[in-house]
């Protein structure tokens, strides 16, 4: 077990190294360098040269790479020249917090809906409950999150103006408003995620329900209800952890559009603003941090999974 944890940690670190190298490659080696990106393509050659010098872009590439990796290793994310030399971390991490809040609540809601729905759908396979659940999951699967978001916005903010059309107030300032602003984005993401999780849960339950040991349990005289709820649930729920983790990681990235629609100042929103204001130094860190979140979540999921099902670590 300890060896498994160590191996997974090591792999996570390796992936993080590749990720930060990839960010470096994208932002330094792709034509259209940070200086050009900051100044736009119609800047004067003098300004361009001066900025290149300030950013250290005239140094040999390996010096730049070592400086980049060295700074990251020390946790120094630099200062943003386009944000009045503010610490980039003071911009990125609060934004990450707001994104995680959205993601966590959405996942929670999705799980609360998907687990019972998937179970009922499996237990009552072929009935009208099952059919409705399957239509819901199929639609949710192909529905782009942002189309769903716009639809909700039209419905709940325009046609029936029940909720604010977006924005952000910190919880400490106005808890009620904060929560009301959360409803639509959470609903959007949760419903799309719930569709995937329901399908996964249903498939898992069906597989377990047909397995031999459930039949054995039935033969032993347990009631139908206990058979379904106990044996099948436990075995179908464990793989769900992985599925939740995969979705969580994807959400952090996929929420870019949702945050834009509902003007929620999370990591995705920050990225868009920074790209539009040419703040490459914020963009590169935001990209890095979102990938890091993905890697860490996957790591946590793997470890949780191996804790729930120790066979994984041994194989």
């Amino acid at each position: 077990m300890t060896r498994y944890v160590a191996r997974r940690l090591l792999h996570g670190i390796l992936v993080m190294w590749i990720v930060s190298t990839a960010v470096f490659v994208i932002f330094r080696l792709v034509p259209g360098d940070p200086a050009a990106m900051t100044l736009g393509f119609d800047a004067s050659p003098e300004d361009y040269e001066a900025l290149r010098e300030e950013l250290g872009l005239n140094d040999p590439i390996h010096v730049q790479y070592l400086r980049w990796m060295g700074n990251l290793a020390r946790g120094d994310f630099g200062k943003s020249i386009t944000h009045g030399y503010a610490e980039v971390s003071s911009l990125v991490f609060p934004a990450l917090g707001r994104t995680l809040e959205l993601a966590a609540l959405s996942i929670l809601l999705a799980v609360i809906v998907a687990v019972p729905l998937g179970m009922i759908s499996a237990i009552r396979e072929g009935t009208w409950v099952d059919h409705i659940a399957r239509v819901f999951t199929t639609l949710g699967f192909s529905m782009p999150t942002y189309v769903m978001g716009i639809g909700l916005l039209i419905l709940l903010a325009e046609v029936f103006p029940l909720l604010p059309p977006g924005g952000y107030v910190p919880f400490g300032e106005d808890p009620v408003k904060h929560l009301s602003q959360l409803i639509m984005p959470v609903l959007t993401i949760a419903s799309v995620t719930a569709a995937r999780l329901t399908r996964f849960m249903r498939a898992g339950m069906l597989e377990v329900l047909s397995a031999d040991y459930v039949r054995t349990a039935r033969a032993k005289g347990l009631t139908e209800r206990r058979v379904n709820y106990w044996h099948a649930f436990r075995n179908a729920a464990i793989p769900l952890v992985t599925e939740v983790g995969v979705n969580f990681g994807l959400l952090v990235g996929g929420m870019v559009v949702i945050e834009q629609i509902f003007i929620w100042p999370g990591l995705g929103w920050l990225m868009i603003q920074s790209i539009l204001t040419r703040a490459f130094d914020v963009v590169q860190i935001a990209v890095l941090v979102s990938a890091a979140t993905f890697v860490i979540v996957n790591l946590l999921v793997d470890l949780t999974y191996s804790w729930l099902d120790p066979r994984i670590a041994r194989s």
Partner: protein, 285 residues
């Protein structure tokens, strides 16, 4: 080789299509979308950037979905938009195939160090949420349609490489590959002539699924202002414009949203249909 067997093989596929209403529906929808994109100029009543009326007109017999904030016909722009979506979908998926497939085949076939390096690199690239990576690339390259295509394509390369690598890995141990080696075939020959033909159907299926994702990503990037630039008729950009216009004319947002939804749905279904149709081992009743 227009032989009877080839003919019967085709007829078998045809029979599978006709017998399954979902296949029939999917394929006709795909055909409809492709034809719309190809003949957009003929089908659309007005040009994509043509100002034809006052802004904010509600639907009339002349302007089926009304007009947008500049007075362009929304229905016409939706039709022209299919061209942008399908073009980006096709071009970016083509990039992913052209680079991803050879990488996957070589990695799976040779294994060892080549494979290790490839797999660790894709591990790193797959750690990025797809849209974030695409955004980062567009941010650096500059925002226009060509760069959107490149960004979306590059993001999909490791996914193709992974898939193909897995298949190549299991196929290379097949005896028909060993038989090829015994005949004196070169590595290139074995990869190209023996492995690849066995990968075509899985590549084709993945092509349609990636195509759907690419359409989705293009619309998202354009929605964020990082894709097709105005006045190009991109569905994503129209959705963004429609969001601001919701209270005056909701049909812009609804039309663009439905167009994206239907296209993605149809190409996702096409993946299932192809999986079913291309399975050579399936026997029909």
């Amino acid at each position: 080789m227009t032989s009877a067997a080839q003919f019967s093989e085709r007829r078998k596929i045809w029979r599978r299509i006709v017998r399954n209403p979902l296949h029939l529906f999917t394929l006709s929808m795909v055909a409809l979308l492709v034809l719309t994109a190809l003949f957009a100029d003929l089908l659309a009543p007005y040009g994509a950037t043509e100002v034809v009326a006052y802004p904010f007109e509600l639907p009339t017999a002349q302007f089926w979905l009304g007009t947008d904030s500049i007075g362009r016909d929304i229905f016409s722009r939706l039709i022209h938009g299919s061209r942008v979506s399908l073009y980006v979908g096709f071009a970016s998926t083509a990039i992913a195939v052209v680079f991803g497939v050879p990488m996957g085949v070589v990695s799976g076939y040779f294994g060892k160090l080549t494979d290790t390096i490839m797999m660790r690199t894709t591990d790193g690239l797959l750690a990025f949420p797809p849209i974030i990576l695409a955004m980062a690339m567009v941010a650096v390259l500059g925002t226009n349609l060509r760069n959107t295509i490149i960004a979306i394509g590059v993001v999909q390369i490791p996914r193709f490489a992974r898939l193909v690598r897995g298949m190549a890995l299991s196929l290379k141990e097949s005896e028909f590959i060993t038989a090829g080696r015994a005949l004196g075939a070169s590595h290139v020959y074995l990869m190209q002539r023996s492995l690849l033909p066995n990968l075509t159907s899985i590549i084709l299926v993945q092509f349609t699924l990636t195509f759907a994702t690419a359409v989705l990503t293009e619309a998202a990037l354009s929605f964020l202002g990082l894709g097709a630039q105005p006045p190009a008729p991109s569905w994503g950009a129209m959705l963004l414009a429609g969001k601001a216009l919701v209270s005056t004319n909701p049909y812009l947002a609804l039309g663009a949203g439905s167009a994206i939804f239907i296209t993605v749905l149809v190409f996702t279904l096409l993946g299932d249909t192809l999986t079913d149709l291309l399975n050579p081992y399936r026997t029909d009743r």
